[in-house]
Amino acid sequence: MSMNKEQDFGTPARNASTLVNLEIDGFQVTAPVGTSVMRAAASIGIDIPKLCATDSVEPFGSCRLCVVQIEGARGMPASCTTPVAEGMKVVTQNKKLADVRRGIMELYISDHPLDCLTCSANGDCELQDMAGAVGLREVRYNPQGQNHLNAVKDESNPYFSFDPSKCIVCSRCVRACEETQGTFALTIDGRGFDSKVSPGQNEAFMDSECVSCGACVQACPTATLMEKSVIEHGQPEHAVVTTCAYCGVGCSFRAEMKGDQVIRMVPHKDGKANHGHSCVKGRFAFGYATHKDRITQPMIRKSIKDPWQEVSWEEAINYAASELKRIQASYGIGAIGGITSSRCTNEETYLVQKLVRAGFGNNNVDTCARVCHSPTGYGLKQTFGESSGTQNFDSVMKADVIMVIGANPTDGHPVFGSLMKKRLRQGSKLVVIDPRGIDLVKTPHVKADYHLKLRPGTNVALINAIAHVVVTDNLVDHDFVHQRCETAAFEKWKTFIADPRHAPEATEAVTGVPAEDVRAAARLYATGANSAIYYGLGVTEHSQGSTTVIGIANLAMATGNLGREGVGVNPLRGQNNVQGSCDMGSFPHEFPGYRHVSDTETRTLFENDWNVILESEPGLRIPNMFDAASDGTFKGLYVEGEDIAQSDPDIQHVHHALREMECVIVQDLFLNETAKFAHVFLPGSSFLEKNGTFTNAERRISPVRKVMKPLGGYEDWEITQLLSNAMGYPMNYSHPSEIMDEIARLTPSFASVSYEKIDSLGSVQWPCNDETPDGTPTMHEQSFMRPSGKGLFMLTEYVATQERTTRMFPLILTTGRILSQYNVGAQTRRTENVAWHSEDRLEIHPHDAEDRGIVDNDWVGIKSRSGETVLRALISERVQPGVVYTTFHFPESGANVITTDNSDWATNCPEYKVTAVQVAKVSQSSEWQQKYEAFSQQQLELLEQGSHHA
């Protein structure tokens, strides 16, 4: 293994189809029009010295180190800013150029600390490299002259330091913050000798708008911006390309290692989902993997009132299997089940569903997509024939109108959010449909053309109103509809949606959105050459989540915005492997590839391959499992990588159900909230400790590669295999690649997927089979995936949620996430990311706060029909009057004590986004929080009493 450093071509690639021929140092080169001379030279192995140029940002031409001579041209142009031209003859090395470059380097070094041997960048410093490249042997300037060597370090960011004494003011960091991240947190302050990099208005990094994405650190050619982990441990010595375990963007990273220690995670330039960009989570928040809270020994106990007992793997697995068998013997074959997670790899989720179907003999398997994107699966399957988004991320760069519905890309999917902002800065139009003022509504150089600030729970009414305008204004793409969609269904839908009850003027009273804004936004979407919809959990987590997804699909079909780049319906998946866990058959009614369990042909295929008779009836969904447990018919549960005791709604009901079970098996990294109700704990492995694949929101299957041994001894798929064997259903895989081979053998959309292919291509988007051996970036180009090949319009009547505001509960609570934390926070709470968000707060509008005598930081009680919790108030105009908002990253916050058991009609996805509440100033934590604290403390003591965890 080696570092395999990525080549820096100096300037970004150009995609022009027209090529030009030129000569560089006597060698013939062909390059696309617009390519810089520097990049063209690099493409044939000629490295022109450079400092201010790097291929992640546009050329700047400031350092002048990259000067060249061009036949017939005057002077010495900078090769980074000079485009190639037909017949051009370039010289990159001669004495005159060498003298100029040496002179430039001499000036740089005259104001730079000469501490190379003890510098953190030693071995990875472009300034040092360039000094060597130009042959700098002396600095003639007086070292006592005016300089910046005593500039003060900024250590405020927990992950990187800023040492301005080493800064050469090349502006790479400033340009990275602007071009790559789109935050514009950095600038060059002052002029001439006073020029310096400045976060915000001469603030410390942590006090500025910096979002700690790491783009500046990556762009820095010196030790000015440097990871603290490199400062502490030194330069890494080998690198492994793997995939981030956080959000659904699925960024590709180089895990840069020293032995089995991760020194830093660096976004991979060739990563097709992220193109070398990252966010604060993927780039820096990996320390949880080796956190002291990791449990690395299997544990068992008879009752949740007993201390945990550390046991061998064999004893833990045998105990778990014997308990599951005992329960089935006592209560029936359907009394147990399994829950997998979008934090697991494809291979792991596949094995869990196989264990349940083949080993447990029922279909009681579900995944956390139940509580986030199950309506996407249902809605898109019905209308388009496939449960997935239609585009790749890069497609956004060809969108002329972007409609963001119930999503907050800059917080939830930050790397894609940056790409979207880049397109918006190029002039694409933006419609935001969200009750809150998310960052995209107004951010540097981006302003939404329309922000439709609807009331929570009225998505369907608003989408219908937009569709009404499309139909009644005659903006339907009739050619597309005629050729690509089922005609009778369209005609029925057209009549339905044209009814005056769907007109914006009629829905305004329900949605709160002015009719003229709806009409204008609808016309903008329908008349944009390429219009794309991006949506998130603000669409799905409603009682009509599936209906909204169907409404969005109707809208895209009606306007012909499908089947090509720049358009489409794009669900932004919450966690890294939401798409994959659904693809792998984690739902109780579907085999891998979204094929119903009642389908005899499919079932026979699996029965023959798995050598077992399979159940033809759907099993229990997660909320059904809880109901059945409370009812006494569901007694045993195997949970891998999911924390249902924190993440699921109406948490007191969930806790009651868990207490009613006789054997809860938790396979995880930490003693999470669910594990506090468990009887068996199996130590899981982090994404750094195993092999597998993740599938991101654009259907991209990317490699997860082991960079260190599992701390508990086994990769997660191995643990599932041990349990299956102990249950009496044999599994004998020696590597996850064999599991993927089985998936490919049994799943038509994965037929040509293999580890060999993924390794050769870097990643691949399904469908990947004989017809599309290199994958499918854009879905439905010629036909839809439904049996008829045609898209299906469906009727989407607005039905108000039963969760209504009243005098007792006059406000609507909606929930969401924040950039620095991830889901239930089990990972990010155990990193320095708490520096940005150390507690969940309740955002409340100033008017609502004033009515209640609440000021910033007051403790406030939030009470719903389900329960009550207490948080500190954050007065904010991001929420509209009548709406309050919180995140759910900390268990003690009890956000899900308040949420109700309302759920999506089609999939039981919880209605997290609409809960009627009252808010009042209080002086102490809620009764639930006090009970939770006591229970949690008791469980930690039981852990201490019985174990000696690492």
Partner: protein
Amino acid sequence: MNIERLIKMANDIGDFFNAESDKEAASIGIRNHILRSWDPRMRREIIDYCEKDGSALHGIVKTAIDDLARSS
């Protein structure tokens, strides 16, 4: 299983399919959705409730559950 919850789930499904003007098609849609997504024990309980009482079920949902009972 909590029958109130099952009744609510069934009625919510009914609310979606009720947009269909062809009520026979709507009823089939409700029946099929329950058949394809509910665990058999849930189906048995809603059928049992429908046969014994059924008053809390919306009309079209009751028709669909009756149909489900006949085909079970």
